[in-house]
């Protein structure tokens, strides 16, 4: 029993180490910021730009971004993101995107890199239930990095 737990643990550590990816439960926040790249890789700002509009990112549902004004319907729930790359360090932006509630307690902004602690989580937008073990983060580690890389470019 003890042995198998030990083996499993080594295996997990080993797997994580090769992918160099930090799992959602292992992200270390310091004052709401996350120093290390979640994927161990640099982000791609071009893909980050796409995620601002589409898919699970959909940041402009709540935020306006002047640099994206070719896209229709920006939201007003959160602040204008112009200049975000100046207001915040890369580590702070990573923390905000991964789990904004660490920086802004009770924030309306969803936690994009968290997989536990939800009330009645559903299977995407079907309205049906999901096995808690099957919940994937809204953005993958690399996608968080991509979005952060894009936000860093938003200087006034």
């Amino acid at each position: 029993m003890r042995l198998s737990i030990f083996l499993a643990a080594t295996f997990l550590v080993g797997a994580a180490a090769t992918a160099e990816e930090i799992a959602p439960g292992d992200v270390v926040f310091e004052d709401g910021a996350v120093a290390q790249s979640l994927s161990g890789q640099p982000g791609d700002p071009e893909n980050g730009k796409v995620l601002m509009d589409k898919g699970a990112g959909n940041c402009i549902a709540c935020h306006s971004v002047t640099a994206l004004s070719d896209l229709d319907f920006h939201g007003e729930i959160g602040p204008l993101l112009d200049g975000a790359g100046e207001r915040w360090t890369e580590a702070e932006l990573r923390g905000i995107v991964a789990n904004a509630k660490m920086m802004f307690p009770e924030s309306m902004m969803p936690s994009f890199y968290r997989i536990t602690g939800f009330i009645r989580p559903g299977d995407a937008y079907t309205g049906k239930t999901i096995d808690p073990a099957a919940i994937a983060p809204l953005l993958s580690a690399q996608e968080v990095e991509d979005v952060v890389a894009y936000l860093v470019t938003l200087k006034d």
Binding site: N58, I60, A61, C62, H63, S64, T66, D72, F73, H74, G75, E76, I77, G78, P79, L80, D82, F104, E106, M108, P110, S111, F118, I119, R120, P121, G122, D123, A124, Y125, T126, G127, K128, T129, I130, I135, L138
Partner: protein, 281 residues
């Protein structure tokens, strides 16, 4: 009286983005040039975080608003005409129609302003429950599906008898525990997006969320005709969609949870006029 951080952040965004549609417009609603509708009222005492309540009509575009100002333009009223026919049509093993027992539909004037309410059986009854009780227990007919056309057109016909009357839903005595349950739900942050009804309809009404201008999520205009879906939408159908959109496991139409939520939401509109059937994009 919204949470100040949210409000400041949002106001800043609205000012600098120039989208600043913000807050309800100042239009006044008079239906058919005669039924005056109260679309703005002081918030009832039990709605702690709002000063003023507004009908959802006030947040819609002028074109959509216009469709509700005259029954000849309101696509829901065409369906209500169908319900007038159904009202007189015998159905079920008893071969009785609604009219056999209730005479004119005008006898239901005022009813919609008090729903949902607790019945003698101690359960909470919505308009759909009352209609189906008559169908199954008094007519020997099949129950109608909650959000199906026959049910929602009949609901619209009965609701429309109360247009212009103030919503006055009670939550004392036997209704209290249902109301508490509904309130609890209203402030629960469901789903992977962790958003409560209050996050959108209390903290953020008047603001744009993507292409939608957020209202206070009032129900005084229900059932509403949605132009996009070209049909009448029940309150529970709307609740179901709002919860589903938070990436949550939603609740079923006609569930006890949605009855309780319906009661709580209805009491947040006490003081507005019954306005249904309304029109929405």
């Amino acid at each position: 009286m919204r949470k100040s951080t949210l409000f400041c952040a949002a106001a800043a965004a609205a000012i600098s983005s120039g989208w600043a549609m913000a807050d309800p417009d100042d239009d006044e609603l008079v239906i058919n040039g005669e039924i005056e509708i109260v679309t703005e009222a002081p918030a009832p005492e039990h709605v702690e975080n709002l000063d003023t309540i507004y009908s959802g009509w006030r947040f819609r575009t002028d074109e959509t608003q216009a469709l509700e100002m005259d029954d000849f333009d309101n696509p829901a009223m065409v369906l209500v005409d169908k319900a007038v026919d159904a009202y007189g049509m015998p159905d079920g093993t008893e071969a009785k129609s609604c009219a056999s027992c209730h005479d004119d539909v005008e006898t239901f004037t005022g009813l919609a302003a008090t729903l949902p309410k607790v019945g003698e059986d101690g359960k909470l009854h919505t308009i759909e429950d009352l209609i189906n009780t008559c169908r199954t227990e008094r007519m020997g007919a099949e129950p109608w599906k909650w959000s199906g056309e026959p049910m929602q057109t009949m609901a619209a016909l009965i609701v429309s008898q109360s247009r212009g009357l103030p919503v006055n839903v009670s939550f004392d005595g036997p209704a209290r525990s249902f109301w508490e349950q509904g309130k609890e739900m209203y402030y629960t942050r469901y789903g992977q997006l962790e958003l409560s009804c209050a996050n959108c309809h209390e903290d953020s009404f008047g603001l744009m969320i993507r292409a939608d201008h957020l209202s206070q999520g009032q129900t005084n205009d229900f059932p509403v005709y949605r132009l996009k879906q070209a049909k009448l939408i029940s309150k529970h159908n709307r609740f179901k969609g709002c919860i589903r959109d938070t990436r949550a496991e939603t609740f079923a139409e006609g569930s006890d949870e949605f009855r309780a939520l319906e009661l709580y939401v209805a009491t947040r509109g006490n003081g507005l006029s019954i306005e249904g059937p309304g029109v929405r994009q």
